[in-house]
Symmetry: C2
Subunit: 336 residues, 2 copies
């Protein structure tokens, strides 16, 4: 099938770039050193390739992501790196043979884990991003609480999401080290007190996978497909993801492609149209000023600024080799 | 069912507010004066209520929206108010008995309509929004081209999307009148030349439904559910839509709810948490500083800033009366 036969807008993934991205990350973080985060692609076909590359476990952000991975036979070691109160569905996965580890940062989330039938947790420690995670000084108490409640504490987690895009790299490295030092200290303390079942320290992401040396495994996800925001960070990953659109209207100063903000998330800024200046996006359109003349019916590839929420807008992604469509991969982990 | 039994995040629609919004708009624009735009809710159950209120036709932005309405028995008069090159699926709907009218603004889009089996079109005229639409002076030629190609030209269309949020109202009214005056002139010219089958002039939206008196029908959609951006425009419609979330983490200065930018589009700005200051959204979280103490496990309703792309992120919306869930309505027009 030729890409021109696809209904637009359509999510394209360039096979060679994807392969190169997967290989580059697997070389840097082989095996269990990488726990790929599926929130960035929400696609079990892509997750299967990451597993086949030797990474045994996955990071998830939602219960649905865990369920779909388990149904795809990829539930051998799932970390739900998020606080969840509604744990009954996770317990069902555990009873069905999946291994599910849940992040907890409070007595309430520990109680929810027990209530739902989750058996393993990590203590989520705040490392500077104002979101979830307990203060480091609360970690020992929480680990004791979890143990008393019958949970196995596998280790600790900390996500330095606020540092992913810090530049220059040297400054990012300095800030990451500063942020994760308390996490390493907590991990050592819990080990000393005999409160953890392993030395697991989980965290990090595509933006900090080289700088964060405090973790035993990195939760990177965006590296596989990439976006224009990460492309500016000097990382060794190429832009595998684009949105194919059709030019539907051309005026003297501008043209319109049928991929708008329902096909590409704008939370990291406007998408990029190569060889053009993007004016604005509306629901189903992007208006842009092209440098060279474009024509009604032309197909163009638009580059999204943020991979995760863009993928979540689509039912499927198409693996392509240039203009040849190789496979259709359902985006099967959408929703909650 | 109580709303506390819903998996979060979940899209809620307050029944009484929705009913009031529908009634208010139907009183202002009865029957065929309103052609509800389904892009704002993508829900055939809601469209059915608009039809039951006496509005016989619908406005669509995508082929998928037309297909789903037709399959729901609501295809009696569908206007695809958008330029489309991939018209084969529209022709199939026409052959199956639906009435589909397509916007055209170029020879290429006219040729595509003919090629796909579409029989009726409107000439889309640019009225100031830099997007689709031919210059007014091109309209007569395009109508002649369409007629020669065997298409019936029902009338003209113009969408003043750039004026929906202009304030104060008097200034909005002045600018709308100025923008749509060429549209009315084109409509009269086409009628004089015998190039149109009816006096149809279609355009307008929730922000300009009172000011745009040049159109014979208004394409409003957002009024039914509303969002915080439109709520600031002094319109007689209430906020029927919210996103139910669960508080999953609480710190000294902030708290986190499990509805993030994959559950609410940020293109019109951050969502609103009543009684709190929103700090930022990430994929699955909104971090906010509450005025009064909140607790892990609390359920809160977050107000999205832009209804259309927010609804498109969800599989379903739940019609509620306060804390009672009345019905589950699939968001069945998602995708393309």
């Amino acid at each position: 099938m030729h890409v021109d036969e696809l209904t637009t807008p359509a999510l394209l993934v360039e096979r060679e770039t994807l392969r190169s991205n997967l290989d580059t990350m697997s070389a840097a973080l082989p095996g269990a050193r990488l726990r790929p985060h599926v929130k960035a692609h929400k696609c079990s076909e892509l997750a299967r390739r990451q597993r086949d590359d030797g990474h045994p476990g996955f990071t998830c952000a939602t219960v649905r992501e865990c369920e779909v991975l388990a149904a795809a036979g990829l539930g051998g070691d799932l970390l739900l790196a998020n606080e969840v109160l509604d744990t009954a569905r996770l317990g069902a996965l555990v009873r069905d043979g999946s291994r599910v580890t849940l992040a907890v940062d409070s007595r309430e989330t520990i109680a929810a884990a027990v209530r739902g039938g989750v058996r393993e947790v990590v203590i989520d420690v705040a490392v500077g991003l104002p979101r979830c995670g307990a203060p480091p000084e609360r970690a020992v108490d929480l680990a004791r609480d979890a143990g008393r409640a019958g949970l196995e504490v596998r280790g600790v987690m900390g996500y330095e999401g606020h540092l992913m895009m810090v530049r220059p790299e040297a400054e990012r490295a300095r800030m990451v080290t500063e942020a994760v030092t308390p996490l390493a200290r907590v991990a050592a303390e819990l080990a000393r007190e005999g409160l953890v079942a392993s030395d697991l320290v989980t965290g990090g992401g595509t933006g900090t996978y080289r700088e964060n040396t405090a973790v035993t495994e990195v939760q990177a996800g965006s590296y596989a497909l990439m976006d224009t925001a990460y492309a500016e960070q000097g990382l060794p990953f190429g832009q595998a993801l684009s949105v194919l659109g059709t030019v539907t209207s051309v005026s003297d100063a501008h043209a319109v492609v049928d991929a708008g903000l329902k096909a590409m998330s704008l939370d990291h800024g406007n998408p990029t149209v190569p060889g053009a200046q993007v004016w604005f996006c509306s629901d189903e359109h992007t208006t842009f000023a092209p440098e060279a003349r474009v024509h009604v019916g032309d197909r163009i590839r638009v580059l999204p600024s943020h991979v995760d929420p863009t993928v979540a807008l689509h039912e499927a992604m198409y693996l392509v080799d240039g203009d040849t469509v190789l496979e259709r991969w359902p985006v099967d982990m959408r929703g909650w």
